[in-house]
Symmetry: C2
Subunit: 550 residues, 2 copies
Amino acid sequence: MKSRFRGAIAAAALLLAGTAHADALIDNVDGIALNDKGEVVHFNGLLIGKDGRVVKLLSRKDKRPETLDWRNDLHGAVLIPGMIDAHGHVMDLGFRELSLDLSDTNSLEEAKAKIAAFAAANPDRPWILGGGWNQEKWGLGRFPTAQDLAGISDRPIWLSRADGHAGWANDVAMKAADVTAKTKAPAGGRIEKGADGAPSGVFVDAATQLIDTVVPKPNPRDYDAAFIRAQQKLLSDGITATADMGTTLDDWMTYRRAGDRGDLRVRIMSYARGPEVAATIAGPGPTPWLYDDRLKVVGIKLYADGALGSRGALLKAPYSDAPDQKGLQLLSQDQLLNLMSRGAMDRFQIAVHAIGDAANREVLDAIGELSETYKGDRRWRIEHAQIVDPADLPLFEKHGIVASMQPVHAISDMHMAEARLGEDRLQGAYAWRWMVDHDVPLAFGSDYPVEDPDPFIGWAAAFTRQDADSMPFGGWHPEQAVTREQAWAAFTQGAAYAGFAEKEFGTLAPGRMADFLVVDRDPLLASPTELRALKVLETWVGGRLVWQRK
Amino acid sequence: MKSRFRGAIAAAALLLAGTAHADALIDNVDGIALNDKGEVVHFNGLLIGKDGRVVKLLSRKDKRPETLDWRNDLHGAVLIPGMIDAHGHVMDLGFRELSLDLSDTNSLEEAKAKIAAFAAANPDRPWILGGGWNQEKWGLGRFPTAQDLAGISDRPIWLSRADGHAGWANDVAMKAADVTAKTKAPAGGRIEKGADGAPSGVFVDAATQLIDTVVPKPNPRDYDAAFIRAQQKLLSDGITATADMGTTLDDWMTYRRAGDRGDLRVRIMSYARGPEVAATIAGPGPTPWLYDDRLKVVGIKLYADGALGSRGALLKAPYSDAPDQKGLQLLSQDQLLNLMSRGAMDRFQIAVHAIGDAANREVLDAIGELSETYKGDRRWRIEHAQIVDPADLPLFEKHGIVASMQPVHAISDMHMAEARLGEDRLQGAYAWRWMVDHDVPLAFGSDYPVEDPDPFIGWAAAFTRQDADSMPFGGWHPEQAVTREQAWAAFTQGAAYAGFAEKEFGTLAPGRMADFLVVDRDPLLASPTELRALKVLETWVGGRLVWQRK
């Protein structure tokens, strides 16, 4: 194994330093990919051109070219196409990676030690920001207090609870926010008080805004640092391309700076946060592919409703566990049509978040109406398409809509979804199999950082409908599981198709970008548990090694 | 001559179509340039490398390379380095090119006729927008009024003054902006009033915002169209590189779209409109050179005062023709220091507009203070440096400040400047010669679209201090004229130095970008009148033909 890695490192040094791509051969691999029909193909060598694209997949018997700029012998390692996430939030992931994570702490003392270590390791940060604490898990029997944080740092500390519904501040943060015993909690919020009537340090729901408003906005350096962390995380998980759902102006400028510096490695299909942002960052229509097919504004992200957990998903009938609620309609049908139309007029692709069955129906109706005006290959996208009335499912097929779905959500949500919806409404929920069976283009993603970006966890969830503990037995609504190969396609060529990128990348075939992974096991032979534990050893984008496990 | 052009066209077709630059020879030219010492050098051939840079200047006797990708025989035509404008406004020029231009009108009546014709020719434009009027030139003896525009159109009319420091509105525009007798001018602005106390139609400096805010914003397509017009105008005038003073976010995105499309030809040294815009468009510091040295955020543009014509220039003593006025201080000394410091901290170059002697002193003092903190090669710039107290001039020398000046302003302003300032204060006015004699880096520009971007008009003004009619006899304050060669240097290598670009372009010498012009006469032998009438025949940027006279 050692010699193989040395070879790869030498090749990488050459590539990272070189100005031009070379004719290259990755040889002696256990290569597995899907062809454009979704059939499994095996290969033994991968020939890459100077442009970073695949020239040819070679079988063991094929003759190797006589002159090559470089050659890399992988000694039989497994090589697969790069994975693609059809729905993620790049900068949110980056900022999450940069902040303090207390979700693995099991006591207040452990948390305090971790906060102190983070403060020491980050002396230049004006605020200590993070989250993930849970006093229940600590067995504390009370909320933590500002007093608990005393002496850890002379900088403000502000840490959100694991559920995001409360925040924990130290005295410095409360002073910065001018919070005193006289401060009143805003509507929908609560300030925890000590025995003396003074704020104890924990702020609940809307009261968290009192502190949030004084937290300094991240500056361009923070954005740059967060992006590099996000990119590192994605590449280490085997993601070579990702949709970025809801790109802001600051996000976009960060990606461009990375591109201008030559630091952009992962491919980003960007969906701007609304038509205004799209006009600002892309101009009168989608951008061309920039930086050798690494960055493009493809479309516009819109929101029709909220999420299921917080009962924001818009339902046709009331929530089973809250009969007075039907969710949040974030846009009227007119507003939705207007925004979609403004984007479509400029040929931006439209991707609309819709979780509840009523929201999905609204978006389906809007697409039906707009399809009469905006013809051609539009690939309208519904993001999540989580709860769909079975009667409405055929509208996906009718309008050639891309279903952009997240397998891990089903696994994370199953118990909660049953409570919110009742058994009857689960027929059209997370209905991946229906989509595949009716030729609806299916694209898989993770919705990171809401879920872990690791695509192999999602892949396993997609064909098992089981969680990491292989529960429930036989899978949750297994009739909507897809096959292993169908799931793989949705995480590669399906996700590329969803972003109008299938001619550039999404599988390994002549003319496509040489985006691939060297992994520690065969994902088609691995058990679901083994697949979830798959390790990416090397990540290559455009024929260049961009990440390697140490 | 015919065959020469055919050769050039063939070469151009090859270059515009080709993907890579070629080793090329531009031969049989009457080549003239300045070396880095400012001395005139003559050459007969120009050898250009694949990277678009000059390999060598060849004399008639030098051997020509045997293998060349292409060769262009210019049959003895005059070839000079591309001209550089150290202070212009690219998008303003573009929108000016798209809008009504009143700069050639010689009376109010003529202007009214032109406005009416433009309104009739552009029935779809919701507003009649334009500029270039100058009541001094019309001999009107007063500002024009809304009443003067009555009956021309039922659409709003809004026309900026030639210097950009005032605007002229009709009643419809004032109504759209809700401007009444009760409206107060914002700080740094003035609303001209009639005898009845009602707004007369002219808004000065910051008061122009009152109308500007209700003018419909141009969309990205408008920006793209305007940019292409601006670029065409600059290249046709022989400008191969320009500073863009006060780049906005929308401006920047337009330049990037042009670069991304491969349509960016002229080189732009961008100065962002303030530190916030700089952070947004460039991030934590100046960008690298983008698109083969065609675009870069170099620094930040700030304003210390207004302009002389509208009595916005901040003077130490009252205006000679308005003893109750001393001009407008747009930033307090603390604000100025704070903004300059914020930019300098991130290593942005600082360029501050200062016209009046008091404003220049303020900026000079600020630079003196900041120089103690921000060391190294900072090249603080003062834009215009128009009226400087002779006692303050040595501060330019002391701090190595770049004097960024516009020769044509002196010619346009001379009568007005005498009225505003009186004869005594003209000693340190437009003091180009003083700068050169004291080794102050001098950069020339036009302040287009305030003035015509044609650099040959500016060049002639710089060594004659005479207008297009060769008036006044002997020149206006000829003691501040520079030599023909000094003026040329300020319009080429001086302007490049001012933008930290002298290693990339600014003259023709090995390693510099092959930015050059084929012109119809020798600018060193031409009379001033002939120089003003010089015609650019071809404009080349980076060894590629980018504009050609038809």
